[in-house]
Symmetry: C2
Subunit: 208 residues, 2 copies
Amino acid sequence: MSSEPDISVDNEETARRSIGARRNPASQEAILDAAEALLRENGIAGFSIEAVARRARAGKPTIYRWWPHRTALMLDVYKRFKNAKSFPDTGTLRGDLTSFLENHLLGFWQGSLCGTVYRAVVAEAQTDKDAAELLQAYQAERKLYSARIVERARARGEVPEDTDAELMIDLVVSYAWHHLLLGQVDAAMSRVPQVVDVILKGVPGYRG
Amino acid sequence: MSSEPDISVDNEETARRSIGARRNPASQEAILDAAEALLRENGIAGFSIEAVARRARAGKPTIYRWWPHRTALMLDVYKRFKNAKSFPDTGTLRGDLTSFLENHLLGFWQGSLCGTVYRAVVAEAQTDKDAAELLQAYQAERKLYSARIVERARARGEVPEDTDAELMIDLVVSYAWHHLLLGQVDAAMSRVPQVVDVILKGVPGYRG
DNA sequence: ATATATCGAAACGAGCCGTTTCGTTCAAGT
DNA sequence: ACTTGAACGAAACGGCTCGTTTCGATATAT
C-alpha cells in the first residue's frame, strides 16, 4: 500500500525499455503498483492482465513472462504488505486471540485496503484450480503459524496440554473469513470480544 | 440435482418452439438443467450465458428475458434443491447444532454437487455488487431462520434467556463456509462434534 | 564482437458479451 | 373466426478482452 507518489512511473514520459538480458525491477514494481491500484479500486471485477499492462505502461508479454497466473500476481500484491508480523504476547490467551482477530485478520482487512485484495484471491480460488491450491497452502501455513498462540497459553498453564489448538484457530479464522466475504468486516469487528468469549468458555449458563 | 434422464430435452431432435404468448416451462427447465450441469462440472469457470444457451439448445434472448443477471440464474439453480427443509427437533441443542452442520450446511454441500454451485455464487458476490446484496440478504434470512434452533433450546431451559443466538449460528455457519471455500468439506465434516463442543462449552479446562 | 535475454508495441484469432432482427408458433381477446 | 401480441430459437451485430506471437530496439554477459 505504498501511498507515496510514483515518481518513477507517472512522471516519466518515456516508456521503460529493456535494461539488458535481465529482469527490469522498475517494470516489476510498476506492474505490482498498477495491479494493487486496480484491485483496490474495483476488486477482482475488471482486473485483467490487459488492464494492468495498460496502467503500468508495460507490455502484456512482460507480465505473462513473470507471473503464470492472474492469481500469482494478486497474491504477490497481497504479500507486499503482509510483512510477516509476529504475534506480540499480551500475556493471556484471551488477549492474544483478540489481538489476532483485531490486528491480523479483521483489522488488517478493514478499510477495504487489503481486504479487497484478499477477497479477490478467495474468489479466484473458487474458479481456478491452481489458485485454490495456492490459497490452501497459504492458509495451512498461516494457521500452523498462528497455532503458537495456543501453544503459548499451554506453556502458561492457561489451557490443558491436549487442547486442540488447530480447532480454536480454525474457528477464529472462519469467523473472520465469513464476514470479510460478506462485506461485514466492521460489524464483525465490533463483536470480537463476544466471539473470543464463546470460543474460550462456550455459551454462558449452558447445561450440558 | 434431478438425475433422471432428460427425455424431454436430450432425446428430442426437434428444437423447442414457442408455445404461445407465455413462458415455456420446458425451456426454463432445460436452461436450469444446463446451468446446473455446467456449474457442477466446472464451477463458475467458463460459466457463461452463451454456454448455457448452447447446452440447453435455447436462444440467448430467452435467457436474458427471464434472468437479469448471471447470478440470478445461479441462485435459481441453487434454490432448486434447497427445498426449504425445516430443522427436526433432536431434543437437545447439541443434537440440533450437529444436525444443522451435518445436514443443512456441510452435508448438503458435500459431494461437490450443491457445494460447487454455492461456491460459484459466493465467488460471484466478490465481483458483482448486485450479487453481493442478493447473497447478503439470503444469508441474513437463513441465519434468522436458523436462530430458532437456539430459541428452542431457550424454551427447554438448556440455555439462559439472554443467550446470543445470532452469535452461535454465526460461528457455526462461518466454520462451514470457510471449509467449503477451501475445498475441505470432508475434513470439516469429520470434526463437527468437536466444533459443536467448543461452541457450547468452550475450551475444556480453560482457566479464565 | 557476438550471443542472449529483456523490454514494449502491435497485431493475431478466438471467445463471450449484450442486443437486435427475423420468421415461426400459439394463447388470449375481440 | 380472426387479429393481436408475446415468447420462442436462429443468426448476426459491434465491441471488448483474452492469451499468444511477432518484431525491432536495448543492453548485459561472455
